[in-house]
Amino acid sequence: MMPMPRPLDFTATSVFVALFAAATVLGFFSARWRKGDLSQLAEWGLGGRHFGTIITWFLLGGDLYTAYTFVAVPALVFGAGAIGFFAVPYTILVYPLLFAVFPRLWSVAHAQGYVTAADFVRGRFGSGLLALAIALTGIVATMPYIALQLVGVEVVLAGLGIPGTLPLWIAFAVLAAYTYAGGLRASAMIAVVKDLLIYVTVIVAVIVIPIELGGFAKIFASVPVSKLLLTPPTANNLGQQSGYATLALGSALALFLYPHAVTGLLSSSSRHVIRRNAVVLPAYSVALSVIALLGTMALAAGVRSMPAYAAGFKAFGPNFAVPALFLQMFPSWFVGVAFAAIGIGALVPAAIMSIACANLFTRNIYKEYLSPDCSPSREGGVAKITALVVMLGALLFVLRLPQVYAINLQLLGGIWIVQTLPSVLIGLYTRKLHPYALLIGWAAGIGAGTWMEMQLGLKGSIYPLHILGETIPCYAAFSALILNVAVSVLASAIFNVLVRRPFVDATAPEDYS
């Protein structure tokens, strides 16, 4: 028997719609804020590069801690236990890296007018082919991520009991319209609303829910013993511990290689803004860790076996755990607030990701290969249209194809994007690696990572390596990256001797500081 869909929750829906409408209005006003010439790519696609510390904090927070993160992380803790908590060390490790390395990227981008990471690679290594590989990796890794943001919206709409696909189309139209009109400025404004709602929700949740469930001791007592901690190593198998550490480290290395993260970074007004944000952004990690624990609380609340949520779990699996927990624990009006936080939360990263893909397409494919002498305002126009196409593609993906495709592709995307690390991050410090070698290393990493993921049947991303009789479970992105770096270094030794053709470095040493 098909479980009955939820009846429409009128109060929650009203609050949700009101907050959503308020955020939308704000998004449209943003085009007037610190008005720039929005036909220019750097104005539309990077907000004119003048966001200060506070706006950057909201923007990056809204951009990196996505709606899907807020749904999927607790879902993993709910379904798989301790291993799902890897998101916490992951976001701890991101910030020392952001602090130490990425101000260099900001500086060189500012000095040379770069808008994307592929722009930098193009300038640094003088190889159009390598830049194209970086740009394509970015676009392909980001597209399914956008689709998953819309899945986040779908989950809360189902939680509210709103039937049909029309609401998703409306959300899409809103997103498309304000992104087209305001570019990154619109996202920055809406990020402020979204983040405030998230903090309110998290603070209320962490106080109210444990009280209702009888305290944390009781909550953790409901977790099956085997899932409370990572499975310990045996004689010749490192168990979940190596998987956990490599997942955290690999994800941390990948995060700021994603185009939407680069876009957020480059929109800041100085390298100091980035450094200051590395110190203050961990506030979001606190929120994320509480949200991860919501997965444990959902277990304790026993929402999975409640008939009221059967339809939601059937449609969305563990991703329905947190919406079900909110519905169970909060009064209707606050459910509206919490769901609005997730729903509006989806729009911010979806918009920034679309803008980032548009920047990549415009700069590194359109201008590079299709229309080398296009004018700056034409560049801006192409980017706006591309962003619309990208968003529409993501929406159709969600509506037409099974959800599992988007989830699988996003998993692969994480493995692919980290393969741009040698060209981008190592490239910030040295160009001793040869562009052809980097290209071969990139291909090796993508090939090996994809192969491991296929062996796993796309279920999880921890692939057991067998080394000297020892089984070492390792995040596929991480082991593929090690292969990539090794191949890049070895092949560089050969190419630097064999290839006589000079590759010109367009950047100067002083551009980096």
Partner: protein, 73 residues
């Protein structure tokens, strides 16, 4: 040569602080246990949550040192 030297960010001992969180939260055998629990939260969970704050605090001296360097240049 001297010009690039001036602009190059000096390495200082304080930069080693940036590595500390990596050791603290990647060495899973150290924190993969449930005792001691605080307020019913097992060690595994509160230890890592604590490191969110510690990680940010460790960045602070590095930030202040670099800001001072930038000003004195």
């Amino acid at each position: 040569m001297s010009d690039t030297n001036v602009r190059r960010r000096r390495f200082r001992l304080v930069h080693l602080l940036l590595i500390v969180p990596y050791v603290a939260v990647l060495w899973a055998p150290f924190f993969n246990r449930s005792e001691p629990a605080i307020a019913g939260i097992p060690f595994f969970y509160w230890y890592q949550m604590l490191w969110i704050a510690l990680g940010a605090l460790l960045l602070l001296p590095v930030y202040l040192t670099e800001e001072r360097d930038t000003k004195s240049e």
